[in-house]
Symmetry: C2
Subunit: 386 residues, 2 copies
């Protein structure tokens, strides 16, 4: 199958590109190195050393496996780029990771909020129009986020909810309570894609993903040059990955506030499997499927305890600090999100275990000298004036 | 009260500015003449002759009433403009009409879709940040649209719906099924403003307005130089206004498809009263109120019949044509939208009557020689490839 990976230089994008290539698909990656630029500006970096750019990474991939991955270095907000990629490559599936993915980044100030929303909304609109014009039968597999839902006091369904109201019934998009300007941009995308499906006949799958953890996949372990990036900093790092790094370097685990914030989580290898399942089972024309892509729910406190226990097993003395929460969010709340549709397609989850955490410790140990310690604590507050 | 009217050169913006000024408020209008530019590009124009720009219009207003309205000619997407307006004027209320308001415009092609969403989302983000920074206690009164809801098969509530689900209950944003890239931009705005209220303490009222009809207000009739614009063309015209014009010039009323499309409608004088009521009764800090701003529901077919009857009264022979629907929308559907909150605040509706239609005929008659007949029929299709 001809598959485009948008955002193919990222943590998941690069790993996904190698996976599909390894399985014999024809893969083309697109990236404008937005994440690398933002890291450079902030003075942060991936813990894992990654090659300088996509041409180098794909050359290494070819060295190791003999397989080719095509590359476009460019910005999808620039229609001339999007147009050329879709016209030349004629994809059958489009896996769209190509967005600014950070909530703290979007909350820095007005400029970052505007940039995040413009970047994400415009590039997704361009992708929608490019599919319509150049590859109308292609299946858009769009990475959304569980953060679009927020923390409602009812069970979260997969994208839609059947509402009985005053004696009538309809199945409608699940109401959204996004928690940052970034999460809002994903809600905007979801509405735009839903419209393109309903009205223009696009086929799409929106993968509302939980928080991903893990470093290694079957492909990254083939050669050190194939490593994917690993972020632990205040802007791009996420809960479990950051805790593992903190455990290894002897930094207290930083729990925001009470730590009762509960979210869905999944292993990076499950992300790849979910995306593969979505691509292998395309939506119908006019259909927008929504899958909640995570395998387990944890509170931040629970994650900290798991990391602490795993640390004890390997002789790391791990402490846990509660720090002032930079975000505006409920710290104790109801959270129960459905996530059966990917299981129904055949997902076999790799659940979180102390063994997995210990194997993450081992990889982090290898690169721990690269840690930039003064960029772990949060700097961007959700309510700056308060 | 110090009130900014964003989009103060428009059909409703100009009428609203004069109303608040007439009532003794200190009014400042902002506009970048986006609507005028779009008309120039399309070769269309307002039926009513309006003065060349806001400085001329406000000079005429001062001539007639002795009252001053301040003017900024500029683009709210340009932060230097927004910043200066809010810093200098320090508004207590902000009435935000300042968006690209046309569904057909947004559906022309990719460029118009991207422009509409970027323009509307970015200028509203700028307004949110400008209020926070320069006038944190100001009340944002944002014009939304009933079109954000689409036509669900359940009753439409005012912004929020209480959902009982699997034994639990929450009150959440009403699910949205917007019908164009323009309507989507308003849904994006609604989510952004809701977030700014929930997380940053903004006070806001979102007025989900129905289709407005009418030409005259207490202020426009004071002097011909004070007329507000009246659009009937395929891009900016709306159902009843266009039908009235068609009746006067002897053009068949153009009903799209079956004509069962049912929407909320209101008189321009009720729009002014609703906005006044919202401004006079501000939302609390952190609260986003949503009011459905219309007074009656009609199907397109019903409107055509009312205009036909009113025409017969004054000797106009009015015919009705069903033309192929350029939009993708249900032509027969359930529609029942709540609209009690503005009535509770004291709204006294001016309902649609044959007399009102006849008085619109009379004004249109005065300017009918200005009609550009070849821009009445729709040119932009919702599904271009079909």
């Amino acid at each position: 199958m001809r598959i485009i990976i948008l955002g193919g230089d990222g943590y998941l994008g690069w790993a996904t590109a190698m996976r599909f290539s390894n399985k014999g698909h024809e893969v083309h990656v697109v990236d404008n190195y937005l994440r690398r630029t933002a890291h450079q500006e902030a003075g942060t970096d991936s813990l894992t050393p990654i090659l300088a750019n996509l041409p180098e990474r794909t050359r290494a991939w070819k060295d190791v496996t003999g397989k080719e991955i095509g590359v476009t270095e460019g910005d999808l907000c620039d229609w001339t780029v999007t147009e050329q990629v879709f016209r030349d490559f004629q994809p059958e599936a489009v896996v769209h990771y190509g967005e600014m993915p950070s909530a703290p980044y979007s909350m820095k100030d007005r400029e970052h909020a505007v940039f995040t929303q413009t970047n994400n909304v415009v590039n997704t609109l361009n992708v929608i129009f490019a599919i319509e014009q150049f590859a109308p039968d292609a299946h858009l597999v769009k990475l959304g986020t569980m953060g679009e839902y927020g923390t409602p006091n009812i069970d979260i369904e997969e994208g839609y909810i059947t509402i009985e109201h005053k004696g009538r019934t309809d199945t409608l998009p699940f109401p959204k309570l996004p928690g940052s300007f970034y999460h809002l941009s994903k809600v905007h995308d979801s509405h735009n894609i839903h419209f393109a499906c309903r009205v223009r006949g696009l086929r799409a799958t929106d993968l509302n993903q939980g928080v991903v953890y893990g470093i290694e996949t079957e492909e990254t372990v083939l050669d050190e040059r194939l490593l994917t990036r690993f972020d632990y900093d205040d802007v791009f790092g996420t809960a479990l990955n950051r805790f593992c790094l903190q455990a290894v370097i002897g930094h207290p685990l930083t729990v925001y506030g009470k730590g009762g914030q509960t979210r869905g989580y999944l292993n990076i290898v499950d992300t790849l499997e979910c995306v593969e399942l979505a691509v292998a089972n395309p939506a119908d024309r006019g259909e927008m499927r929504v899958y909640n892509q995570f395998t387990e729910q944890f509170s931040v406190r629970q994650l900290a305890e798991i990391v602490q226990k795993a640390g004890a097993e390997v002789g790391l003395s791990v402490t846990v600090d509660s720090i002032e929460n930079p975000r505006v969010e409920l710290e104790e709340h109801y959270f129960n999100a459905q996530h059966t549709k990917l299981l129904d397609l055949g997902l076999q989850p790799d659940l979180l275990s102390e063994t997995l955490v210990e194997s993450m410790f081992a990889v982090i140990e290898r690169y721990k000298d690269r840690t930039i310690v003064d960029h772990i604590l949060p700097r961007d507050r959700w309510r700056p004036s308060a």
